[in-house]
Amino acid sequence: MSVTTLILLVLGLGLAGWLVARSRAAMFRRASADHRIAALPVYHGWYAALWIVVPTLLFALVWMPISEQLIIQHVLASPAAENLPAFGMQRETVLSEARMVATGAAPGVFNQDAAALVGPFEEAISRYSVIGFVVTLLVAGSGAAFAFLRLKPDFRARTRVERMVLSTLLIASLVAILTTLGILASLVFETIRFFGMVSPVDFLLGTNWSPDPMSSATNPDGSRYGAIPLFWGTLFIGAIIAMIVAIPLGMMSAIYLNQYAAPRVRTWIKPALEVLAGVPTVVYGYFAALTVAPAIRDIALSLGISNPSSESALAAGLVMGVMIIPFVSSMADDSIAAVPQAMKDGSLAMGATQNETIKRVLVPAALPGIVAGIMLAISRAIGETMIVVMAASFAANLSANPLEAMTTVTVQIVALLTGEGSFDHPATLAAFALGFVLFLVTLVLNIIALRVVKRFREAYE
């Protein structure tokens, strides 16, 4: 029995429960003296339906992986399984081939060993699907029985449904958090594996980055895993060049929009800036690689600089800065708008001009919010991948010359994970260590920024 049929079956049962409970409640209502019961009939319906559907789905969620294991075990216990190759990879291949034939996903077997296993597979699959089906019905039945035993005329189905909805919503919100934790856990796990092979000191303090995926995996050369050039490239492109572009332009546009722009102008420019934030980064990447980088190279050549790189840090940084402008400006705009009008009036009433008021009162008062916005923007810039993958270089280079090629953490992660190295080679695992460092840095930046913003909000409550 397929998953789809199972889900349809459960939903069908739920619908049946809903209809029955609702009409039963309507009956209660007609029977009661004053035609009133503690909850509307629909709530009786929902109560029954939820008690049927939720436990059944939870069971299905648990059962699916378990039945998988049970099937494999059943097959392995069969006499035909004794001929299976002992080595992991081949063994898996044979098993999955037999399984595909058994479920009808493949027309015939290629491997003779697999042929013998088709029978046990068919047997196991049909057995466990019957078991699963029966248990599902049992779970649904007992859910229904429980619900119907409690549904009486004076039962407060309404508050119960409310509570069940609440817990469903809670679970839904936990999914995102748990997933993130899961990702983090796997990241940590792989990072620890990496640091088992390469010393953290070499990684965090070394200045030579040239991992060789073809070298021996068991005895890696730690001196080739120095990530400082990557950290530097990331900072230089994302936190220095990009911010030199984004901070002044973002601030100025925020001030213009907030303080000077006529309402009509504002209704046009503000959405336009927000659209800028929605442009897919790969488009910025094209722009950086195909337009800006060659232009910078040409300018450098015409200025007499020999051999300028066509993948300069400057090109990636400039375009990234443009991408970040909307983040800086919208946070700055919000922060300036949050400064009370009384502050502005106070300054104007002292005989300050609007410009003096902005410079000396509004911006200083909004500074915490603005700084927080810049930190969020930096954390976004250093995590940004597409622009640098397209426009920055893959070559690690520790230099302060913006016209030179540089690489970033994200570029190297992409390079390492799409490279030739096998999955447990340190050159591949290094990607996780880099990802972990990036994660930590952006996390810290975000936490600080959010706290600053919160404090700032409180100050003007």
């Binding site: 502050m343 009036d345 106070g346 300054s347 009433a349 002292m350 000396r360």
Partner: protein, 281 residues
């Protein structure tokens, strides 16, 4: 309006307070510091102030009283052109400072506001240190040369506002960390620091407790004569205590303007009398 309308308010506590402050009133002097004639203020098409004539003297504190929404703040803000910051507001008529029309096209609004300072209803110190709050005006107007000069201006302003003794050891603390009453005196000191000719105060005590209010009133009395002071208040006791001239506004009209003692003891208009005897408001 009622059969008791002709009851005189003579002998009421209000009247005796008004008479007390009348005691130290000088004889009428010549030219008013500010003169408003036929002033109308509109918000869009709505007229909020209708043809108001008022004189403000440096020698006297002028109080604006009247029920809320009658246009006291609106008129006050037209005296230093703070209404310019509200896009829909429009002022007609003439308002003169030392005989000079402040709405004339050649008028420098920035200079005007340095000459006619303002203190708001809610204390609004800048989120800067106490020192920087006071130094703000002198700095932007270039009134002090060098640090020592500035220090002197700060001290003098804080002394005049009666705040020096309380804050002299913590000038670097944030102005927003002071108590409400101290913040309001800081705002007065801030206004004083640019050496204005007139100070406008819009209900400066309405956010303060009685003790802080008493301090501000004392301060206003001390500042009288040095600066022309206009105070909007919703408390008639306060008007009686601190002012020598009172203007009663009602529905955008100036109903009556004259000696505070007259307004409170012998109002010419029945509407004034109804208001000060608490019949409406």
């Amino acid at each position: 309006m009622s059969e008791t309308a002709d009851t005189t308010v003579k002998g009421s506590p209000l009247a005796s307070q008004a008479q007390k402050s009348l005691a130290d009133e000088n004889v009428e002097t010549g030219e008013p510091k500010m003169r408003a004639r036929g002033v109308d203020v509109y918000y869009g098409n709505k007229k909020a102030i209708d043809s108001v004539d008022i004189d403000v003297y440096t020698e006297y504190v002028t109080a604006f009283i009247g029920p809320s929404g009658c246009g006291k703040s609106t008129f006050l803000r037209s005296l230093n052109r703070m209404n310019d910051t509200i896009p829909s507001a429009r002022v007609t008529g003439t308002i003169e400072l030392d005989g000079e029309d402040i709405y004339a096209s050649g008028m420098d609004v920035v200079q005007l506001r340095a000459r006619v300072g303002m203190v708001f209803q809610k204390p609004n110190p800048f989120p800067k240190s106490i020192y920087d709050n006071i130094a703000y005006g002198p700095k932007i107007h270039g009134l002090a040369e060098g640090k020592q000069d500035l220090d002197e201006v700060v001290e003098k302003s804080l002394r005049r506002a009666g705040l020096w003794e309380e804050v002299k050891d913590r000038l670097t603390d944030s102005g927003t960390a002071l108590s409400g009453g101290q913040q309001q005196r800081l705002c007065i000191a801030r206004a004083i620091a640019v050496d204005p000719e007139v100070i406008l105060m819009d209900e400066p005590c309405s956010a303060l407790d009685p003790i802080a209010t008493a301090k501000i009133e004392e301060l206003i009395d001390e500042l009288r004569g040095r600066y022309g002071i206009v105070i909007v208040t919703h408390s008639m006791q306060q008007a009686a205590r601190v002012s020598q001239r009172t203007a009663f506004f009602h529905l955008g009209n100036l109903v009556e303007y004259g000696h505070t003692s007259d307004i409170f003891t012998n109002p010419a208009e029945k509407r004034t009398q109804d208001y000060i005897t608490g019949r409406y408001g």
